[in-house]
Symmetry: C2
Subunit: 315 residues, 2 copies
């Protein structure tokens, strides 16, 4: 197979785009696609001060480095869950990228604040680790934005992540999630930052290729708690459909975004969140909450730990 | 496993309903479920004169026999596609049920009208056999309704059929089909009969069990053209999800119906078909058409055969 641009031997074939590229032209193709997505959906606007949620994996580190190459300076935010080697190696990779691009990373240490790691926090809450992790991440990532004046939180969610989650939402027509999934969410001023996902239309394979070709060193291991998750089943199902019908994942997600746009147009006030807002604010810390104390404050209360949410700053 | 009702040894376990039944109580359970569906969605109304689209398979013959047991007298309509033994055996099974329940069946012979079987008709049209078959079936089934005063066409589509088709529609967000799939479609008076699918919420396995336990002799073979169809891939995918999460198919379809109801409520005039109507009527025969001649009349024109649509009446 030949590179579509220069005719040299291709290093990656993209069946869903019916094309193939050498390393150099793949990087250009990929960056252009992300740029187009950012522009088409207005993900990053003039005057924005974005921050990237980094985990140490290929998606978030690629996004961070790519933004830098595009001339968009963004700091990072990392939540250290205290999961042994997994968390330690993740942080190393993050620091290496931070050094390379010359940006700062804010680090929230779960063990320092909660006096235990995420599995033990989850046990106390009688929740799955992923549920406790999501709650804490959403809280501290939002807090750093509001406190430090970042008005936009960027995450590395890719097409495969989004398609798998959407698959589950559609399979069970989960109203509370279905039409709320979006490529970006507006801010609730002073309470909740804007959010956007520049890799929404880039497959996992494309992002991995981008990381490898551009020499980004990331942690290969997945979070140990992701094993057996339903989204992995859905990813496999979509992967096998994609195998026989290339382009399906992209059509699934793009078709959904179009449908969502129409729904938002035809019923703008029907609880489809154009904004990111919760239903109220926490009585203790003032950040968004479903009602009463927010999950973060309730967790601290349960653990009998006074309120704190400190960050280490690196770089 | 014990029958939930009588405690005798169960002959069928229904994991999606978390229950099990002996033969007798399964029949009662199944018929009650169908009755509930008919009532809940107003599928059959007082004064209706329904006709059942029969193919010789388990779904349509079970529906036909079940309606008779429920005291709903319905004739049948069968389209003989001229596919060798498959069509011959199908018709035999249909006639046996017609005899058993004492009802009439109208038979449309594709070879008699088109002077060739469905595969040859499809070739002339440069369409897949399934596409030509669907077009002819819709036409003649509607025609028999309008001509003979049947105001309601009932089909045996089951949960698995509907879930697989919906799966394909959602995967590609096919606007032209997605929100048009429904458990019933209203009539376009004088042009298009009402349609309904009483087995919409009954799985293929449940219908097969009903046919076998109640002694309905049906053709086991599937239509030879159904092999390799995408809906079969989707049925397998949904089957494997159902295996690990019983009840998924039913939730998928019920969730969709709920979503559809909301969409119809919030935008009743936006082309979501509450009615069954086409966009116009055929200049030759007067039946619904997408514009100009209908597919049926165009086919006859292409074959240089004068218009005819005759039925044989059996029973």
């Amino acid at each position: 197979m030949k590179c579509r641009v220069c005719g040299e031997t291709a290093s990656i074939a993209l069946r869903s785009h019916k094309t193939a590229f050498c390393d150099t032209h793949f990087l250009i193709f990929f960056e252009k696609r992300v740029q187009t997505t950012i522009r088409r959906y207005g993900l990053i606007r003039a005057g924005d001060r974005p921050i990237v949620a980094v985990s140490g994996g290929k998606d978030s580190l690629s996004l961070w480095a790519l933004l830098q190459r595009m001339g968009i300076a963004a700091d990072g935010i990392y939540v250290n869950l205290g999961i042994g080697d997994y968390s330690r190696v993740s942080l190393e990779k993050i620091k290496a990228v931070a050094d390379a691009i010359g940006r700062k990373v804010h680090i929230f240490h779960v063990p320092a604040t909660f006096q235990r790691d995420i599995t033990e926090v989850a046990k106390v809450l009688r929740r799955a680790p992923c549920s406790a992790c999501g709650m804490i991440k959403r809280y501290v990532m939002n807090k750093i934005c509001i406190e430090k004046g970042y008005n936009l939180l960027l995450t590395g969610h890719n097409l495969d992540d989004e398609a798998a989650a959407l698959f589950g939402n559609v399979l069970y027509w989960k109203k509370e999630y279905l039409w709320k999934k979006d490529i970006s969410l507006e801010e609730d001023e002073g309470h909740l930052s804007r959010k956007a996902k520049p890799f929404f239309l880039c497959s996992e394979r494309e992002v991995a290729a981008y990381a490898i070709i551009s020499g980004i060193d990331y942690i290969y291991e997945e979070c140990p708690f992701s094993k057996g998750a339903k989204t992995i089943t859905y990813k496999n199902i979509l992967g096998s459909i994609e195998e026989s019908s290339p382009g399906t994942k992209l059509m699934f997600i793009k078709g959904y975004l179009k449908e969502l746009e129409e729904i938002k147009r035809s019923s703008p006030h029907e609880g489809f969140r154009g904004s990111n807002a919760g239903t109220g604010y926490c009585g203790a810390c003032g950040y968004p909450s479903g009602g009463g104390l927010c999950g973060y404050c309730r967790t601290l209360e349960k653990l009998e730990i006074p309120y704190s949410a400190e960050f280490e700053e690196y770089g």
